[in-house]
């Protein structure tokens, strides 16, 4: 019966525009590629405008303006204005650092719909340590200004071993700041987070305690604040339906114009992701090798190939399979049916051992580390 189930076919609904890899923060779980400092040739204002126009014509409706820190782009208001004219719902995904009242007003005038900011921890010292930048007070002020100016606000807090014990305080902070949505994002181990996994991955017990607190608040705050809880997939026994299926919904454009089926995909070897400087978005979406590489089910190995759940989770995440097993065609090892599930258990055990050493260092995301680490290794 392999191949008889239908794979969702669709046009991009979500366009994630990573406007720049530059960022004043240095979060050690950043999802940008480790070698981001090598990709410096950013798209121009006109190139971004063309990307927005083409994706909108194909049916994209949600636009994420992200980075790095998108506020660094001086043309941000001009890009927002163009996007809003096209009918996008425009989401600014920012650290909140550098988000002054003047910019909040300017972006509102340009038509920005929503602002998401991140806070690293519900107290100053830890926030500033994790961000690698003295940013706590500025972020809190930005959050208040966002609400004052009538935007819906998503507060994003990335959860890991250094802040998971503060779940209660995180939730109280979100209430105090008047967040409409709180995204509790358990760290996904890609990019810099993968590099720092031993120092970031909490224990199962820590996860369960934190999740119970989040659930309790979810009930308590019903109708006031929505809580999005991003599950920690190492502690699940089925993989996530990554990107809602490869090449079905999501389209990411990296700062240098590389088009990606998910924002991590540039790590996959030999994928040859196309660039918007060379191809139209329609050709990229419909005919490029990279966007077709994991569509449908033919590429799958066992146990996915004959699995009745393959049309539900699409075999999980290709980048996770590659990072954990070295084979991007493998079943996502998060799955308990994966013959390589032991790779996940091993990662959990390594992190547990590392947690006994409080001096386990974090490698911060900055250009110096990026350049040092991106030298090819085996």
């Amino acid at each position: 019966m392999a191949g008889s189930e239908s794979y969702p076919s669709g046009t991009p609904r979500w366009l994630l525009a990573e406007l720049t890899y530059s960022c004043p923060l240095q979060c050690p779980y950043c999802s940008n590629p480790i070698d981001y400092a090598d990709h410096t040739h950013e798209l121009s204002t006109d190139e971004w405008r063309r990307v927005f126009t083409e994706a909108r014509a194909m049916g994209a409706v949600q636009l994420g303006l992200s980075g790095g820190e998108p506020l660094i782009r001086k043309d941000l208001p001009a890009l927002v204005e163009h996007a809003r004219e096209l009918g996008y719902y425009t989401n600014l995904i920012s650290s909140g650092y550098g988000l002054t009242e003047e910019k909040i007003v300017e972006l509102k005038m340009a038509g920005l719909d929503h602002i998401q900011i991140s806070i690293q921890a519900p107290e100053k010292t830890l926030n500033n340590y994790l961000a690698g930048t003295d940013s706590y007070e500025q972020k809190k002020t930005a959050a208040q200004l966002i609400k004052q100016h009538g935007y819906p606000m998503v507060l994003c807090v990335v959860i890991h071993r250094h802040n998971i014990h503060l779940m209660h305080e995180i939730l109280e902070m979100a209430v105090e700041l008047g967040a409409d949505y709180l995204e509790l994002a358990n760290t996904q181990y890609y990019g810099w987070a993968h590099l720092n996994r031993d120092a970031l991955l909490p224990t199962r017990e820590q996860f369960e305690t934190a999740e119970a607190i989040a659930q309790e608040y979810k009930e308590k705050l019903r109708g006031r604040m929505k809580i999005y809880y991003v599950v920690p997939d190492y502690y699940e026994d089925r993989p996530k339906a990554c990107m809602n299926g490869w090449g079905t919904t999501f389209l990411t454009i990296a700062p240098d114009g590389m088009a990606l089926p998910c924002h991590e995909a540039r790590i996959l070897p030999g994928l040859n992701c196309p660039n918007v400087r060379q191809m139209s978005l329609r050709d990229i979406w419909e005919t490029s090798e990279a966007f077709n590489r994991f569509r449908n089910f033919d590429w799958m190995e066992e146990p996915c190939r004959t699995c009745p759940e393959k049309s539900k989770d699409f075999g999980g995440c290709r980048c996770q399979a590659y990072l954990l097993t070295g084979d991007m065609n493998a079943t996502d090892p998060v799955c308990s049916l994966s013959p390589q599930r032991d790779k996940v258990e091993q990662a959990i055990n390594e992190a547990l051992t590392a947690s006994l050493d409080p001096a386990e260092p974090l490698i911060f995301r900055n250009s110096r580390n990026s350049k040092t680490l991106s030298k090819p290794t085996d």
Binding site: R13, Q62, N91, D113, D180, Y181
Partner: protein, 93 residues
């Protein structure tokens, strides 16, 4: 949801959401931070009338006229209640 819903409640679409026709899907959608809900036509017709001037009673009367039918109240009420719960609309106090 402090204000209870009654026949004279004036309903208004939430400023934190956007109701929009999507040509590529031939559907009305509700857009909000990082999300989208596709609406069927009756739901969209109800929500379009939640403009801050009309009451529940007026919405029922207008829709029954538009669709040249009667007995729509229960269906409309069900949709309104669900929209309130989802935060798509609010009751003007």
């Amino acid at each position: 949801m402090a204000t209870p819903l009654d026949n004279s409640s004036r309903l208004v679409f939430s400023p934190l959401h956007r109701l929009q026709w999507e040509e590529s899907q031939r559907k009305y959608v509700i857009l909000y931070p990082e999300g989208m809900v596709e609406l069927n036509l009756p739901a969209a017709e109800i929500l379009k009338l939640c403009d801050g001037t009309r009451t529940l009673d007026v919405i029922v009367v207008e829709l029954e006229q538009t669709f040249e039918t009667s007995g729509l109240r229960d269906d409309i009420l069900e949709m309104i209640e669900s929209a309130l719960e989802n935060g798509w609309i609010r009751i003007l106090s």
